[in-house]
Symmetry: C2
Subunit: 287 residues, 2 copies
């Protein structure tokens, strides 16, 4: 339905994991008059909306098949989007291409993002241009400040700042970038379980008094084109159920999927959503 | 039964939280001919063995009562031992003495160990000598190397080293010092839930292939006299149930309670227990 323009946008390959983001990207790209080709990652991509776009389903380990399909379908830009739980080496069942890639780094040394970075580098080496989800859906990015009508109080702000500090330190170790903080106390740290699971767990360790804050950050060294941490309606609802009072997101380093719906719902639930920045963005040694 | 010696050891005050460690300390001190006085922290101290020693039960927030009781009973040395889950400000119900203490730092800014450090400082200011559990029960400390008969293989060693790095970085943020690593992947990070709970959870995220490793560290800035991280038989059994292959402990920075029983049981379960040190103990900039 999208007729080629005089100066058509390059075709977009979408390597799709779980959640709503990949289909949002496909839809936004098509609306902008751009052709898309979707690689649905087997056992990860779970949004039925994706089925309406041309593409294939492939195992995470089928690197050769994925690269060939994207080349054969004339993709120029590639975006990686959606949740991908890193499987064990055995579960990846790497083809020769994936195995060659994995051997470059050694599975032992891989942190949570090591694999992703590697995939990004390899796509560029193969001649594709890697683009970030926030470059296609520009309203995904989180800006600094209060995003809805509810403002955090002093305790909530203090919890948010403490959580951001903890999450940034966590990021140095290339592990999860989320935590829940209540009254200065870190109730839960995110590893591989994902944000929603961590938020649910935090309810078991909730203290009396004012509720806590969910904090999401990205790793200091994170490539913004690769899988920026994202929250959406589900996370907001889970945070509400767990008794949290709001969500603090690293400005410029996280995304909100379905932003207007999330903000509207947060307002209705009496929860704040804020974009914050680290207190010392520069060198902490300089005072 | 312990007659005073010519040069008697100073009386030991034990501020007791949960688990088996406080009673072990009391018993070891008495065996060494030393009088003890036990402050059982209400809702924390849970070992019935403690009831045989002179002492009182006091709320965590009853600082004046605790200090007075220890002074009235002529304690000179004081040891803090056992698990204490940090409650909310409301649950502490601070007396005037505790409130004064808490106001010094502000509850907002307290990390998991902030409160403990503060209590330690205050005890010293009040003229007590703060001693570490490992100074009384010298076999608690973990030395470097394989502690039982089972040796970790290369993957397990690599997981242990990665986990130690992650745990040390976590410690910089003054949060939990434990994690579970399997095949290079951090399955779980410890916040406030405690080691056993974290180990149980890690089983939900277990990957195919060889099992993971529980790693316990202490915080880089941790005062060794205050609550060094400890494992015992319960943690070992939980680790076994969760499919882990062994436990790696920071040498010189963690404790094993009931060491010989733990090692014997680990040998029987086919699990390793090792003491390890960070790879760069010195300045990481020097290569």
């Amino acid at each position: 339905m999208t007729a080629p323009q005089d100066n058509p946008l390059p075709k977009l390959g979408i390597i799709a994991g779980g959640g709503a983001l990949p289909a949002r990207l496909a839809s936004a790209a098509q609306t902008a008059g751009r052709a898309v080709f979707v690689v649905k990652l087997d056992r990860h991509a779970d949004d039925p909306e994706l089925d309406q776009y041309p593409g294939i389903t492939a195992r995470l380990g089928a690197a050769a098949r994925i690269l060939d399909a994207m080349r054969d379908n004339a993709c120029q830009d590639v975006v990686l989007a959606g949740k991908v739980a890193r499987p064990s080496f055995t579960a990846i069942r790497p083809d020769w291409r994936a195995a060659k890639l994995l051997m470059k780094v050694g599975m032992k040394a891989l942190g949570d993002d090591g694999l992703l970075r590697l995939v990004g580098q390899e796509l560029e080496r193969e001649g594709f241009r890697l683009v970030g989800a926030h470059e296609i859906l520009t309203d995904l990015a989180v800006s600094e400040g209060v995003l809805g009508t509810i403002k955090p109080d002093d305790q909530a702000l203090s919890d948010a700042r403490h959580g951001l500090r903890v999450a940034r330190i966590l990021g140095q170790a290339d592990v999860g970038q989320g935590c829940v903080v209540q009254q200065g106390l870190v109730l839960a740290l995110e590893a591989i379980e994902g944000t929603d699971e961590m938020v649910r767990r935090s309810a078991n360790y909730r203290r009396d008094g004012v509720g806590g804050v969910l904090v999401k950050s990205s790793k200091p060294q994170q490539d913004k084109r690769l899988d920026l941490p994202a929250i959406g309606l589900t996370t907001l609802e889970e945070a509400h159920k767990a008794g949290l009072r709001g969500i603090a997101l690293l400005a410029g380093g996280t995304m909100i999927i379905d932003r207007s719906a999330v903000i509207e719902r947060a307002d209705r639930l009496g929860m704040f959503v804020i974009g914050i920045r680290p207190e010392h963005d520069g060198d902490p040694e300089n005072d």
